[in-house]
């Protein structure tokens, strides 16, 4: 670190420095090395998220909804609209420059029926449009769906493979019902084969449009009914490796960006705590005596305060801006650092090299920050690696209880926030479990690795501490 000026020329036998020694010991610790690899990997992912993330983390096609991992779909918008003679404004960005776009669309035809039930039997079925009376509504062919449209605008769960017939009871799939009532049922029928739309574009304007070979003026296709989209002869599909959330956002991208926020908060708040803790602890340890007693009594008292409550109050009352969070969490964590550094300084300041520095005319500040503090680096490094996961945990805890950090009024979804929204979106049978499981694994793995790395570093840098948890 700070070698005296009169160091003899390099000794013939090469010694191992503290750090080489520690690195050798660390390499033997498999769990710690695993932790190191994962931490480096996760940090790389977090830093490179903007380049790695396949999709925008904050925007999704709502027509997708929550889809399970490895879901793939044609790359189209919610509503795709083209009109002859107009520029293609309502089309997936990036398709404007194409010459030919074809959409293969499953068109559905929707018919509404008024169904009257009397004494548990269907007595009358009428088409709402035109009030034409019919005998049966057959929804058994594949792709056919019956949906009840209630008066308040809500829909009953989709029923498939059912037949509503006069003189027969209502299919059981419609659930428990009064003996006599009237309901509106919407029958969605898929056309026999897919319909093919082809558009030719030139100079940024739609030249012509055809539907199954017949020329048309305008085309309007819903995203969910598109089966396939070809742009200049290449099919455009997207795969969501970890699925999508309720608003169609790609979960993998969200986890990558979430990690960025979690790790950022962890690192910066740790640096804040590092600066406060080291300076405070160093001064306390170096000053000794009454000053030390007083400073440490303050730390003791602050230690007993349940900070999480104060941090929650702070965030609730002063907004959840990310800078407030950095300071708040950093200010919570510095106490242990101060104690550790103080203890180190107390023992180090009796060493000869301090005496030597003093003899050569170095002032107290110089001795403290040029000679003593660098020598506490080992312990500081160990404690820093253990503080990062603690801070990540706290930030996620806050995000989980609804205090997700914000920047410029935009909420930043860290892993904690993702876990929270995953939990809220599970569904009544846990059918959307990937939304909870994927971010949970990302977070748990990272915390796990950071803890292992920290423990391993402690063992490597300070073998006497070994085994004390």
């Amino acid at each position: 670190m700070s070698a005296p000026a009169e160091t003899p020329p390099a000794a013939p036998k090469k010694g191992t420095s503290l750090w080489q020694d520690a690195w050798r010991r660390l390499k033997k610790n498999h769990m710690a090395m695993f932790g190191l690899v994962v931490v480096v990997f996760m940090s790389a992912l977090a830093v490179l998220a903007p380049w790695l993330a396949p999709f925008d983390a904050t925007y999704g096609e709502t027509w997708l909804g929550a889809q399970p991992p490895r879901f793939d779909h044609p790359d189209v918008l919610n509503r795709n609209f083209l009109a002859v003679g107009h520029p293609p404004t309502h089309i997936r960005p990036g398709y404007e420059d194409a010459r030919t776009i074809t959409f293969e669309v499953d068109e559905t035809q929707e018919t509404e029926y008024r169904v009257r039930v009397q004494r548990r039997r269907v007595t009358e079925i009428r088409r709402v449009e035109g009030a034409i009376k019919i005998d049966r509504v057959d929804a058994t062919s594949p792709g056919d769906v019956l949906v009840e449209v209630r008066e308040d605008g809500s829909r009953g769960g989709p029923v498939t493979g059912a037949v509503i017939e006069t003189k027969a009871p209502l299919p059981e799939a419609f659930g428990e019902r009064p003996a006599s009532f009237v309901m509106i049922v919407r029958h969605a029928q898929r056309a026999k084969g897919p319909v093919l739309y082809t558009a030719h574009l030139e100079n940024g304007v739609v030249l012509d449009l055809t539907r199954d070979g017949v020329g048309i003026d305008r085309m309007e296709v819903e995203g969910r009914s598109v089966r396939k989209v070809d742009v200049d002869g290449t099919e455009r599909r997207h795969t969501h490796w970890l699925g999508t959330d309720l608003s169609g956002r790609d979960l993998l991208s969200r986890i990558l960006y979430g990690g960025r926020i979690s790790l950022l908060v962890g690192v910066i708040a740790t640096i804040v705590s590092l600066v406060i803790g080291v300076v405070y602890g160093a001064i306390s340890g170096y000053a000794g005596g009454k000053v030390d007693d007083l400073l440490m009594a303050i730390v003791d008292i602050l230690f007993a305060i349940p900070y999480m409550f104060l941090v929650i109050l702070l965030l609730v009352n002063f907004g959840r801006d990310i800078t407030i969070l950095f300071v708040a969490l950093g200010a919570v964590q510095w106490l242990t650092m101060a104690r550790i550094v103080r203890g180190q300084i107390l023992s180090l300041k009796e060493k000869e090299f301090v005496e030597a520095a003093r003899m050569s005319g170095t002032g107290p500040a110089g001795i403290l920050f040029r000679h003593l503090v660098p020598n506490t680096l080992g312990v500081v490094v160990v404690y820093t690696t253990l503080t990062v996961p603690a801070v990540i945990l706290q930030e996620s805890f806050l995000a989980f209880i609804g205090l997700a950090v914000e920047y410029d009024g935009q909420s930043l979804d860290s892993w904690g926030a993702l876990v929270k929204s995953g939990m809220d979106a599970l569904g009544s049978d846990g059918e959307r479990s990937w939304l909870l499981v994927a971010p949970s694994i990302a977070m748990a793995l990272t915390l796990f690795s950071l803890n292992f790395l920290g423990d391993g570093l402690r063992d490597a840098l300070d073998p006497q501490q070994r085994g004390r948890t």
Partner: protein
């Protein structure tokens, strides 16, 4: 010991005062108040409401009034006449107008207490059991297995474990309710309907069980090779007597010193567990009242948590001294 205890006891009011002061001014310093939310309230009504709850006065005056009401015993009434009545008055709840803060705390604290006690018991039973067996049978399959589980338990936070438990046992297997609490509430009501408590208590207990298991194992390993254990073997005592009566006592020390922070973390952990499992406890009350700017309710819960934390740390320190006669406090 006496001097040490005295110093620690002296610390208690200072800690609580700092906590109360910071929370009090944090709540008041922010713009807005409990009565300007949702719908527009008539200015006159708002003014009268604020007058009723003394919100029109300067925060420092409010602080003084708050501390006065908080005193353990009131000797004088507001006019200065002598009239003794019990103190610890936290005032009315701003949002829940029919109840005082004390009443809300009496209503909700037992629920949290039950959850916390259940979690503590689970973590002690699991942690000590696994730790002792792992320590006695070092390097066995059980040792490696339980320690691997403990590592996972330590690294995975409660708010991940909780939803995952709810997902598997509540939503997939439908064995236990996902959320909620016994209909009639309270401590005994919850005891009568334990199915609501199992998942939250386990979620809360897991990290502590893991920590206790690791500490116990390390303690057992340290103790098991010492002379007095060899003596016990030589006397011909049976294994379970040696393990439980001799070794465990020595091995328990780090566990006991962990219990102080553990209780603290169980208390904070209850914030999130009560949130996950919709348990009407004091932790959830704190979060909702903080969001609602219910000043008095926030202060009440903060004080309750603060007192509990400080008290438990103190108790643990004292117990630690009793368990290990080598420790002398000065």
């Amino acid at each position: 010991m006496g001097r040490y205890l005295f110093r620690r006891l002296l610390q208690v009011p200072i800690v609580l005062l700092i906590l109360v002061t910071i929370s009090f001014f944090l709540m008041r310093a922010a713009p807005g108040g409990p009565f300007d939310m949702d719908k527009q309230v008539d200015a006159d009504i708002k003014r009268r409401m604020e007058e009723k709850y003394h919100l029109d006065k300067h925060p420092v005056v409010q602080y003084g009034m708050f501390l006065r009401d908080l005193a353990p015993i009131h000797v004088f009434d507001r006019e200065g006449n002598v009239s003794i009545r019990p103190g610890f008055d936290l005032g009315p709840s701003f949002k829940n107008k029919s109840l005082s803060v004390n009443e809300v705390i009496w209503l909700k604290a037992p629920v949290s207490a039950l959850l916390g006690i259940a979690a503590l018991l689970i973590s002690l039973v699991l942690g000590l059991g696994a730790g002792v067996v792992a320590g006695v049978r070092q390097n066995s399959v059980f040792d490696y297995g339980s320690m691997a589980v403990a590592m996972v338990g330590l690294a995975v936070p409660t708010f991940v474990v909780g939803p995952l438990l709810a997902l598997v046992f509540g939503l997939w297997w439908k064995l236990l309710p996902v959320a909620g609490y016994a209909a009639d509430g309270g401590f005994f009501g919850g005891l009568m309907a334990p199915q609501y408590l199992i998942l939250p208590a386990f979620a809360l207990a897991l990290p502590f069980a893991a920590r206790i298991a690791r500490l116990t194992r390390a303690g057992m390993l340290e103790v098991i090779n010492q002379d007095y254990i060899r003596t016990a073997w030589a006397k011909g005592l049976r294994e379970h007597v040696i393990v439980v009566r001799h070794a465990l006592r020595g091995a328990m020390l780090p566990v006991v010193s962990f219990l102080g922070p553990a209780v603290a973390q169980i208390l904070t952990g209850s914030l999130v567990v009560e949130q996950i499992f919709a348990i009407p406890g004091i932790g959830r009350e704190f979060v909702t009242s903080a969001m609602n700017r219910d000043y008095t309710m926030v202060m009440g819960t903060v004080i309750l948590f603060g007192v509990l934390l400080v008290a438990f740390n103190l108790i643990v320190d004292v117990v630690y001294g009793l368990l290990d006669p080598r420790i002398r406090y000065t």
